[in-house]
Symmetry: C2
Subunit: 457 residues, 2 copies
């Protein structure tokens, strides 16, 4: 497909296997080498690429930094991997209106610092924030620890420039009349349109904060504490958990002495005006004092806070050393059902004889259940599959969702119909067809199956 | 259609012209008498009605209290008017989780008092809150003065039970995987599905509040004040305006002495913790002291506050006495463009020699532009049409939207394509077709034209 390659400058076209391999994977176990990697620099180029792709029926798989946990950016053989790494500029920034417009390749952490200079901040903070891009954040409606108080990416997108599957360029904003197309595009994982500019709402940096770290005897006790805070009407900014094995793993990674008898740690952070933080802190301390936690620490200076946060932030690198393969499930249940979910995870680990590390955004009822394994061990991988299946069934039976914040992608598409039912599935498919009648945009993601016929690039 | 009538009990079927007339209109100038009025009491009945309607191709127009300003609930000749007045129960209420589930016929004001007993409140507060229903609020994604701080109805809907156009029943929640069908349904004006149960998020009643009323020499000066507050980063809970003619009209209605030299009034209300309110109030007073307002009052006791609010709340009844017909436009522009919009409204009133009363949620950039006229005066109505046309064009040219909070309905469907463009229109139509392939659900609303063929009930 010479025509496709001619649209971007030569530096924007990767044809060698070595180059293409770099765009073949994300943070899951899935991978597939694309036919070509195109790295456009303008909306017009994206439009040109999609016009040709639509005519030829070539598949186009948009991608940010490839940090996703659902395989949403995995390309297919012969497809175009459309990378936004060169569309990484802040297009406009109005501190007065607390708004900015960015290209999809801007890295989340870069934006945080950029707007921080004007005492503003962008709440969604996925753990991969120093790598992941805003295009990917919008495509997945990513969250992060602060989602508890601030909501996820979808709550901050005010407008999008979109290239439709036939190459036509259009815009949608939160004030656009008619059906809410903006909300439909956010979280659509690149299956409905390709985003080339993003309008974002920003918020003022909170005046004050306080961080707590509380040690409990078990994960179940910690989840009871979360339910108690919630029933007291206390909504912190952050409410994170890690279970005993995760804690041990992080302590070892950081060469820290292990805390004896601790089965789970809760991180609680409150932010707001000084008075708010004071009042909330007192209420949290009061709630803690009535519960069976072993001890707690609090941090209100930046350095103490960093000392506590290093534990939470080290989870991913620490876990990476445990086993060659990490199957990261992302289940979410109503907060009041957390103790049941935690009990079920424990039982599954025993039943299937698997090493499971659990941590995550427990304040949202959202736990990341990490099964540590090795894809080369076929017998164990079968037990892993059975465990995941049971975990998702349990989650749904508790009124939960199979994806708290990681999206559906290819990793969970086969479970989606159990969650949304037959009418929901039919509507999702019809919406996909309306936006992408030729089926060229990130096919086989969210909605199975992968279409069969496809020309190679 | 005997089969349709048999689904609900006899008290739920209105066949006489007298009864049907009561369901023929809303708060616009549109009206049309439906073929039958059905008043179901259960989701199953709604499902039964839609199954038959889908088979027979009969149009079904859902309606709440008929307080809408876009004609979204106007039935057509021969259609079923589906009224939810008997589905008016609170299905569940969990103060601990700050959630409730209601039937669509529950009146907004009733819910406010119901949850208020537990110190909770439901932020969306359209002026018609003592009459309008939550089903209608969700269908239109209604707002109200508090939207400035709290957002509109869409920000509070957590789940919906929906009857699809073929009669099948399904549910969708904010955590459902796949595309955001929940956001698509909220604000879809009954054209995509019929809502039979609504999950809502509630918030704690604010601890403290303070209300300001500031008198300015002109509406333009008041809109400059709004832009100033916004640029100072001050976000009140309420920021409402009324222009000189509206103020005079309300003063007369309330038998109050008229305030000399006043061209516009701003209502500003701040809520939050006591400290927050104190700090915000001081900042507002400081901003006011630098501006050219004539004077301002503030109210921090309930009775003083009521005394100020009575002016704002009397706008609708006061205006009703001015002229037989009120054309209520609902335009919204970015706050920084407000002075331009205000200037344009003034120029249009002079150009078309029309009485225009302007008030509304100026903090959101959302003004209600009321043209007072008489539909029987054909010559004047032509000038009104030209004025509306120009007003909407101006709004779009200022980067605004033709509907701030009233929806599109039949009133604005002919202008929608100018706002969303050809790709947007095609997608809106395709989405409508996906949800309602037979075109029986509230046809001709949002999207023109009204389909031609239709069997009568």
């Amino acid at each position: 497909m010479r025509a496709l390659q001619r649209i971007v400058d030569p530096a924007g076209v990767f044809l060698s296997v070595e180059d293409r391999i770099c765009y073949s994977f994300d943070a899951t176990t899935f991978s597939c080498i694309p036919g070509v990697v195109l790295r456009p620099t303008t909306t017009e180029q994206v439009s040109g690429i999609l016009s040709i792709a639509a005519e030829e029926g070539v598949w186009v798989v948009p991608r940010g930094a490839g940090t996703g946990f659902a395989g949403s950016s995995i390309p297919w053989e012969g497809s175009v991997a459309l990378s936004f790494e060169r569309m990484n500029r802040v297009l406009s920034f109005s501190p007065k209106d607390r708004r900015c417009v960015v290209q999809p390749g801007v890295v989340n952490g870069f934006l945080q610092r950029y707007v921080g200079q004007k005492d503003l901040f962008f709440p969604p903070d996925p753990s991969s924030l120093e790598v992941c891009t805003l295009g990917g954040n919008v495509a997945q409606s990513a969250s992060g620890p602060r989602a508890l108080r601030y909501g996820s990416t979808k709550d901050y997108v005010t407008s999008l420039d979109v290239v439709a599957s036939d190459g036509s360029v259009w815009s949608v904003s939160e004030t656009s009349g008619g059906y809410d197309l903006l909300s439909l595009l956010v979280g659509s994982e690149g299956t409905l349109g390709v985003i080339t500019a993003i309008g974002l709402r920003l918020v003022p940096v909170p005046e004050s904060w306080n961080t707590f770290m509380a040690y409990f005897k078990s994960l179940e006790q910690a989840s009871v504490a979360v339910a108690r805070l919630s029933s007291e009407g206390i909504i912190p900014t952050v409410l994170e958990v890690m279970d005993e094995v995760t804690l041990r793993c992080v302590e070892e990674y950081l060469n820290k002495e292990s805390s004896p008898g601790v089965g789970a740690v809760l991180f609680v952070e409150v932010t707001g005006s000084e008075t708010e933080v004071k009042v909330l802190s007192q209420r949290i301390e009061l709630t803690f004092s009535k519960l069976g936690q072993i001890r707690y620490e609090s941090a209100c200076t930046e350095s103490e806070r960093e000392r506590l946060w290093i534990l939470r932030r080290s989870v991913s690198p620490a876990l990476a050393r445990v086993a060659p393969t990490k199957i990261n499930e992302d289940v979410c249940v109503p907060r009041s059902r957390l103790p049941e979910l935690v009990g079920a995870i424990d039982a599954l680990a025993r039943r299937d004889r698997l090493n499971i590390y659990t941590f995550g955004h427990i304040g949202d009822g959202n736990l990341h259940v990490n099964i540590m394994t090795d894809v080369r061990n076929k017998e164990e991988m079968e037990r892993v599959d059975g465990c995941v299946e049971s975990l998702l069934e349990t989650t749904l039976s508790l009124g939960g969702t199979i994806s708290g914040e990681h999206g559906i992608g290819v990793a969970k598409s086969k479970y989606l119909s159990r969650e949304v039912g037959p009418v929901g599935m039919r509507l999702l498919r019809d919406i996909k067809n309306a936006f992408d009648p030729a089926g060229i945009l990130n096919p086989g993601k969210i909605l199975e199956p992968l279409p069969e016929a496809r020309p190679e690039v």
